[in-house]
Amino acid sequence: MSKNKVYIDPDLEFLIPQFLENREEDIQRLKKLLQESEFDQIIIIGHSLKGSGGGYGFDYLTEIGSKIEKNAEAKNKEEIKNLISELKNYLDNIEIIYEDQ
């Protein structure tokens, strides 16, 4: 399976395991919130993901965070469900390369 290559600043290496763990938690919370139709909370998670993802070097997470935020505003349950599995799929197949840009 082709991996999603991500280039990250070596300065951030020690932060990455925690960061990824937090994303796993995001997925669990998103699933639960979606079941409960708690869109306001989903907006906050999407917004945070959008804000922090790119900062760490995960531009894709900023993109998907933005999509989650928008779809939660529109209360688009089906699309959010797709985005959550997209997010999970992305994280499961990630390959991190620590490299100075």
């Binding site: 600043d9 951030l12 932060l15 960061f19 959008k50 804000g51 922090s52 790119g54 900062g55 760490y56």
Partner: protein, 332 residues
């Protein structure tokens, strides 16, 4: 100079990311808060202290459901934080809020996602600005303190310049000022003013017999008698020069002045300062010349001169008459 930073952000990943970058800068301590309430408490916004808790605040524009702009406005309203830079962090979509953020007192903003180079450069310039501000505040404080010290020193000098170093009573300079001031007042209030000139009898012989240190001691004791005998607030005693003293008595006519002069004469005798080579007594004595005036014309230098001359003539007469006595000479 220590720089402390507060990061206000409710997202753990953002906090960790910013901390990692800030640690690379010359920063003493990095603090974090994640709600408006905790931020106000941490910054002690309810207190009256004028020293800020931190030197730079990095503030997310949206904290969950709370508004970073409102937080910024509250911080900036407190006097302690008016010169503490605030950098707002905002997502692209929130750019519309920037105008408000600047109006609320933010000095700069950063867009998410954070780019390391940009973040470091902007935070660094905020730190540099803060350091300059702190140095300026420090200089201002020093200047204020210096001018306070200067003021005190001046007051002290002023006092020294008006006090006789040996006896501690007023000196000739203050006498000159006071006689003028009191004459003018007497003229305004249409009241009397008396002047007593006092000279220690055979003081040269006293010095020759007992030495100059004892002579100084004698001057001090005479001065302390004058100080005690001029009890009313406006009464004024000064060392006029050498062994000569002067007393100004506002609101006092001939009889009152003679009474006080006599009182002084007795007071000096009662000191019982031994004086073997006095022509008049076994103890130190003084001669006193008194004059008084009812100022009916405007006060001028001539009038002051004449009053002092009259008192001096009376003093001369007292010496001629055999010392240790009071003589009066009227102004007219």
């Amino acid at each position: 100079m220590e720089i402390n930073i507060l990061v206000v952000d409710d997202d753990q990943d953002m906090r960790m990311l910013l901390e990692n970058y800030l640690k690379k800068l010359e920063v003493e301590k990095i603090h974090f808060t994640d709600t408006a309430q905790k931020t106000y408490e941490f910054l002690k916004l309810n207190g009256l202290k004028t020293e800020p808790v931190v030197d730079l605040i990095i503030l997310d524009i949206i904290l969950g459901e709370e508004n970073g702009i409102e937080i910024c406005r509250k911080i900036k309203r407190h006097p302690a934080y008016q010169e503490v830079p605030v950098i707002m962090i905002t997502a692209q979509k929130e750019l519309e809020y920037l105008k408000e953020a600047f109006a609320a007192g933010a000095m700069d903003y950063l867009k998410k996602p954070i780019i390391k180079i940009e973040f470091m450069a902007r935070v660094n310039s905020a730190i540099r600005l803060r350091k300059e501000t702190k140095a300026r505040i420090e200089r201002e404080k020093e200047l204020l303190q210096l001018s306070e010290e200067l003021k005190k020193a001046n007051q002290k000098l002023e006092k020294i310049a008006l006090v006789d170093g040996l006896t501690g009573i007023s000196n000739r300079r203050l006498f000159d000022k006071t006689i003028k001031k009191e004459l003018k007042r007497a003229r305004r209030k249409n009241s009397d003013l008396a002047l007593i000139m006092i000279d220690i009898d055979n003081f040269k012989e006293y010095n020759d017999t007992y030495g100059h240190q004892q002579g100084d001691q004698c001057l001090k004791e005479v001065a302390s008698v004058l100080d005690k005998k001029t009890k009313r607030a406006a009464d004024f005693a000064a060392r006029y020069g050498g062994e000569e003293f002067a007393v100004i008595l506002p609101d006092t006519a001939k009889d009152g002045a003679l009474k006080i002069a006599e009182d002084i004469r007795k007071g000096i005798m009662n000191l019982k300062l031994e004086h073997q080579n006095s022509a008049v007594s076994d103890y130190v004595t003084v001669s006193l010349g008194v004059s008084s005036i009812k100022a009916e014309k405007d006060v001028n230098q001539e009038m002051i001169k004449t009053l002092i001359e009259k008192a001096d003539q009376a003093l001369y007469q007292a010496k001629e008459n055999g010392k240790n006595q009071v003589v009066y000479k009227s102004f007219e």
